[in-house]
Amino acid sequence: MATSHQASGIQAARLDAAGIAENFSDLHPAYDAHEAAVAADRCYFCYDAPCMTACPTSIDIPQFIREIQAGHPESAARTILEQNILGGMCARVCPTETLCEEVCVRETAEGKPVEIGRLQRYATDTLMEKGEHPFTRAASTGKKVAVVGAGPAGLAAAHRLAMLGHDVVVYDARSKAGGLNEFGIAAYKSTNDFAAREVDWLLQIGGITMDYGRKLGAELSLDGLTSAYDAVFLSIGLAGVNALRAPGEDKDGVRDAVEFIAELRQAEDLTALPVGRNVVVIGGGMTAVDAAVQSKLLGAENVTIAYRRSREEMGASRFEQDLAASKGVKLMFNVMPKAVLGNGAAAEIELEYTDVTDGKVSGTGETVRLAADQVFKAIGQTLEGQPDALELEGRKIKVSETGRTSMAGVWAGGDCASGGEDLTVTAVAEGRDAAMDIHSSLMG
């Protein structure tokens, strides 16, 4: 018997297995062949297509859609994967509404873009379901490259380097590859253990050794790596989490959203995962939305996202905001946390309304209290554990266009490096481009 929505505190089993299964099913179910043909037919095969320009990995979108139209999705997959080896995951998690689909001429014409993301998924799924890996390794170059961090940037770099004939060792602090694909991201965007399956498929290229439980600054040192390898690529992500800096932050029930999401993604049985009755998520990015929506889907009664700026400034796209609203999440704008209240465990949160003047947020003095037995902090992640020797730019490792850091022989990409948005697709592009630069530097 499932615990009801109304059960107080942080409780497991608010929904039964059937309810959980329904709630966590695919957000955008896969197309069947006919649906794909119809969707593909909407593509106008634009000249110098805007969608391709908008894609951080510059996938030739009109070309792959035309290959779907003509009935060979396997070629379409190859077109995608040549540019973006994690095209399968990107098809699921890319905020296409702010990238390729935003600039689709169909969006201009009728407010309904070609569903590029779903078509990409159709193509890549078709190929991957056959268990085929479309690329082969070049002859060995005898060069060895270390990749630190098995997230999207690291995997993209490793694959490209291996394909070019280098021997690659990928280190990761966790016991599993995938980075945020595996530990972040809402579960309904990556169903059926897709992230892990994609990694296995990617590794079919050969020449890549995975080495888990190895963390830079602990088991690994940059000096050690640079002396043992011909090149080093750092893709260590953002391991730190910003604090609320509000009284009561240490109370039970207050935790980092990324940790909750990771736990949820790794949970064997979601009915066993506890969630609050009244959940408040502090923040305005994708992590905030993912934590809030999934809390709701686990059966929380009231879920609120509290963001200190306006809707327009929210990091999560309008699509994500609407998704949250459609699942019953309440969105509050221009409120910031003032205190978490409760006797030992969180029971309420006090929020203060804000004004934003010249980009600066200040409290108006007016406050509101919400019931909150669980509070998730989703106010940004920060670089943590980076080698001191590397120059920073802002709060990230400074890199050139092709990912070169301030230290010779060391490249970096993904969320830990400067430049680009913190998106899976951007990380893939950075990993791939750094790999190409490492290759030319090693072979030059």
Partner: protein, 434 residues
């Protein structure tokens, strides 16, 4: 609601939409359903001579071409004429005509090219009370190999001869159905006319193979590993049919010969176009076979709505109105100059016009850094390709350059005078303009 009552060869029907001779009109059951749905008339599926019934293949009879959402664009068939006993058909025709006196019932016939065969069947058909007959000189498969169907339709002398027999042994209107599988449709039409046919109907189906199965390496439809050409019909063939109808409408020898138009009629507009091109009515098959008999309801409402808008009170008001505007290339006005114009408000910036013009035409469209597409008047030959490939209707239009203005491509002032190829200085056989 405009009155759609149409009189064709003196045969009245409540609307100009008849079902063509084909599977939909093979049986009393189907025809009754058709009349209940509102069809103005039917041409009963082709009857053959008395004797052992025709045999059809037991594998697929149809092949097709589709758009992306399985919208059927073209249909091909290898079915033969009716495979039911002659007497059964005659009895059914008699019953149906008796029950639906206001609808047109025409009987399609195909018997061997011998006078006796026609002399035998025609009185029997006459006895049914049907309103007329249609001579199937068009079927391109199966029967043609036995010297019937298009084998007759491809020899004008035979057409004339058989038409004369029919006029001799049958008192009601005789319609000659023409095959498009010839080089010049005017010759068989003239032959029908010479044989005193009351009308021609066209087109019958076009020789076709819809596709090849790349696994079995056999044409579709495939019967036991082999295939044969069939007859093509449906929306894809409409332009071919429209041209053939126009050719007959404007030919000096056949002008005024009533035409029942067939070929891809799917909506009211197709029908209106055929009728404007000189057809007294239209016959439909593929649209009914794709969507069922109810498609006629849209045809009725659409045509009637359009007639109301135009102020036409009878189909007679617009039949043939487009015929005077069909001419030969050599008479087209070479002083008529247009240029493509792109509406920036409507443009969605897909760039298809640019790709088409730059790669395959006259390099007359410019593309800016920020994807603004504009026509270069000094390069534009007004080919219309950009209009045709643009996904937005009316975004690109052809605008006439008025007389007196300079055509930037030629640098010459546009003349207001009509001038065609026959008088053009580059024409070696030009006749003097004066």
């Amino acid at each position: 609601m405009a009155d759609l009552t149409t009189e064709f060869l003196g045969i009245k029907s409540p609307n100009p939409f008849w079902l063509a001779s084909a599977p939909p009109t093979d049986k009393e059951y189907n025809v009754r359903r058709a009349f209940e749905a509102g069809w103005g008339g039917v041409v009963w599926k082709t009857l053959g001579s008395e004797g052992p019934p025709v045999v059809n293949v037991n594998g697929p009879r149809y092949g097709a071409i589709w758009g992306a959402d399985r919208r059927l664009l073209g249909l091909n068939n290898i079915e033969l004429i009716t495979d039911r006993p002659l007497q059964t058909n005659l009895e059914e025709i008699t019953r149906v005509k008796k029950d639906y006196p206001d609808r047109a019932v025409i009987v399609s016939i195909m018997v061997p090219c011998e006078e006796q065969a026609w002399k035998d069947i025609l009185p029997q058909v006459e006895a049914t009370g049907a309103d007329g007959i249609e001579l199937n000189f068009g079927c391109p498969h199966g029967m043609a190999e036995r010297g019937m169907g298009s084998a007759v339709g491809q020899v004008p002398e035979y057409i004339q001869m058989v038409t004369e027999w029919c006029k001799k042994y049958y008192s009601k209107p005789v319609i000659v159905k023409l095959t498009p599988n010839i080089t010049d449709i005017r010759h068989p039409a003239r032959a029908a006319n010479a044989g005193n046919a009351d009308a021609v109907s066209l087109i019958n189906t076009i020789n076709s193979i819809t596709s090849v199965d790349l696994d079995s390496m056999a044409p579709e439809p495939t019967i036991g590993g082999k295939g044969t050409h069939g007859g093509y019909c449906g929306p894809a063939v409409k332009p071919i049919a429209l041209n053939m109808v126009a050719e007959i409408s404007r030919d000096a020898q056949t002008r005024g010969l009533p035409i029942s138009a067939i070929g891809g009629v799917t909506t009211w507009r197709d029908a209106a176009e055929f009728m404007a091109m000189g057809a007294g009515n239209v016959q439909v098959c593929t649209a009914a076979m794709t969507y069922g008999f109810n498609v006629v309801k849209e045809m009725i409402s659409g045509l009637s709505n359009w007639m109301d808008e135009k102020g036409y009170t009878s189909t007679q008001d617009f039949i043939g109105m487009a015929v005077p505007n069909v001419t030969d290339w050599q008479y087209l006005d070479l002083n008529y100059v247009t240029k493509a114009k792109i509406s920036q408000d409507d443009c969605i910036k897909c760039g298809r016009c640019f790709a088409a013009c730059e790669d395959t035409s006259h390099q007359a469209i410019a593309m800016s850094e920020d994807r603004v597409f504009t026509v270069k008047d000094d390069e534009c030959v007004a080919c219309n390709l950009c209009v045709n490939v643009c996904p937005v209707e009316n975004c690109i239009t052809m605008v006439e350059v008025p007389a007196g203005q300079i055509d930037e491509r030629t640098g010459e002032v546009v003349s207001g005078d009509y001038a065609n190829w026959t008088t053009h200085p580059n024409n070696p056989s030009a006749t003097a303009a004066e």
